[in-house]
């Protein structure tokens, strides 16, 4: 029975792939020479944010999402993204909106307000874009998971959870009991909730990014804005809760006088260290996730590129290798999703606990 189902699913997937491929081949045949495969544009279109959410097997259809923007005069405008995604301009009240097509302002593809003189003004854009919706979905999933486990404990008491909840518990135990607790010691209950939240939020966003169709497919942790917020929160927690001794270590460290008195070399290095820590957090997560997505997209694009350069048959041949490699990459990305979420949590834990040094503890360590 299982084998039959597997075979049917495989056949359906293969059929859809063949159909999609035939369509895209036909599509490129119909188009003139200048609409060749543009790898760079395709890659950044897939990795970037958008005002709609793609639907599988369609180039034009998008799930419309709400656009929320403050125009130049400060008025609030809300409308569905389907009004502008096809390249139209949309008149909402006395403001006209469209998606910018010019490279000039540096916001190509973003929502702009067309002013009276024809110039473009980038409004305060609070739209629920694809990435924002992705973030909200990830947050909702995390709440759902945590609450389901909470409900289990409420109902079943001391019974060990099974299945997905059991797996969740193992992960929580691994992150909290085996990682946060040994590092933070008795401060673990205070900062554990933040670190656990960060871990599960990042993990969910990472994994959602690997699923190609809605509600996945948004490149969340491969977007600098997302990792920046996460890193900034860790930065804020680290420095706002830092002890007196932590600040003394930075501005007046235990080094020979010559290194800190006339020219404050060590304090400068230490101070830079404060800034590089969150920067490293931000870039590490961003680059790892972006890289993974990019490799998969490039591997798939190879099929189109080869098909265009040589023949459809070569493209089909490449497809076998490309799909096999991208499956491997996606499996690897699943691992990386977990590792990066864990590394972010681990480093945040270490940074926060390092900001909580006390004179006495420090002395014990140095002795």
């Amino acid at each position: 029975m299982k084998k039959v189902i597997t075979a049917i699913v495989a056949l359906v997937i293969l059929g859809l792939m063949a159909w999609g491929y035939a369509q895209s081949a036909q599509h490129s045949h119909h188009q003139s020479e200048d609409s060749k495969v543009n790898p760079k544009e395709t890659i950044f279109e897939h990795l970037g944010d958008a005002y709609g959410w793609e639907v599988p097997f369609s180039h034009s259809m998008r799930i419309p999402l709400p656009i929320i923007a403050f125009a130049q005069d400060g008025s609030l405008h809300c409308f569905l993204s389907s009004r502008v995604t096809s390249g139209d301009t949309y008149q909402d009240g006395d403001a006209t909106f469209k998606l910018s097509t010019s490279e000039e302002g540096g916001y190509k593809g973003k929502l702009v307000q067309v002013l009276g003189d024809g110039s473009e003004y980038r409004p305060w854009d609070f739209s629920i874009t694809k990435n924002v919706l992705g973030i909200l979905i990830a947050a909702a999933l995390v709440i759902l998971m945590a609450m389901s486990l909470r409900k289990w404990y409420k109902r079943q008491g001391m019974k060990a959870p099974k299945g997905f909840k059991g797996m969740l518990e193992v992960v929580i135990d691994f992150v909290y009991t085996d990682t946060i607790k040994p590092i933070m010691g008795k401060e673990a209950p205070k900062y554990g909730p933040y670190l656990l939240t960060a871990f599960f939020f990042i993990l969910t966003m990472n994994l959602l990014g690997l699923i190609v169709i809605f509600p996945g497919g948004a490149n969340l942790t491969g977007n600098l804005a997302v990792t920046m917020v996460l890193a900034l929160i860790t930065f804020a927690v680290t420095n706002l809760t830092g002890t007196k001794h932590y600040w003394k270590e930075i501005f007046w460290p235990d080094v020979p006088m010559a290194l800190k008195c006339p020219v404050p070399m060590m304090p400068l290095i230490e101070f830079l260290g404060i800034l590089t820590k969150p920067l490293a957090l931000m870039v590490r997560l961003f680059a790892n996730m972006l890289g993974g997505h990019m490799v998969v997209i490039v591997l798939i694009l190879l099929i189109m590129i080869f098909a265009e350069m040589f023949s459809t048959a070569v493209g089909a041949g490449t497809a076998v290798i490309s799909v096999a490699l991208s499956v491997f990459m996606l499996v690897l990305d699943t691992l990386i999703s977990f590792i990066q979420a864990f590394v972010f949590t681990l480093l945040s834990t270490i940074f926060i606990s390092m900001a909580h040094v006390h004179e006495e503890e420090h002395k014990v360590v140095t002795e």
């Binding site: 854009d125 518990e169 909730p193 600098l224 917020v229």
Partner: protein
């Protein structure tokens, strides 16, 4: 390259989403989950310790039972011995009591026999006296007739008395 240029809207929503997520989970989920997990861990630890203790108890149980059995046997033997002793004592006591009682009874019997003998002796004496008087009366009466006859009568009377006694 918009990927490297953080969008304000995205930053805003991300921060809002994370803040909400944190407050919800930090208030209702994580502390409760961690507490429950810790509680279960302690329960399991206690359970293991209890099981080990129970096992060691079980291992000792046979020895304890043997000791108990031996003790019981000893007590049983003691009780049996005491009972036997008590039995002989009771029998001895009963024998002694019986002997005493028997002696009393024989003494009383002897006394009454003695009395009866004395009474009968007294009676005999009176009877003999009475017979003697009767004989003397008869003798005196015959004496009036014949000496010989008197003597014969006395002889006859005496032999009668003799044969009676």
């Amino acid at each position: 390259m918009e990927l490297f240029k953080p969008e304000f809207g995205l930053v805003f929503w991300m921060f809002l989403a994370f803040a909400c997520l944190y407050f919800i989970l930090a208030k209702w989920a994580w502390p409760f989950i961690i507490k429950s997990m810790d509680e279960r861990a302690t329960l399991i630890d206690k359970g293991v310790a209890y099981a080990q203790e129970a096992k060691s108890h079980l291992d000792n149980a046979k020895a304890e039972a043997d000791a108990l059995l031996a003790d019981a046997r000893k007590q049983q033997a003691d009780i049996l011995r005491d009972a036997a002793k008590m039995k002989t004592e009771i029998i001895e006591q009963a024998k002694a009591d019986a002997a005493l009682e028997a002696k009393k009874v024989t003494d009383a019997a002897q006394v009454s026999i003695e009395q009866a003998r004395k009474e009968s002796e007294h009676q005999l004496r009176q009877d003999v006296g009475a017979y003697a008087l009767q004989i003397a009366e008869q003798v005196i009466r015959r004496n009036m007739q014949d000496d010989k006859a008197q003597r014969d009568l006395v002889q006859k009377m005496l032999s009668e008395v003799e044969s009676k006694n």
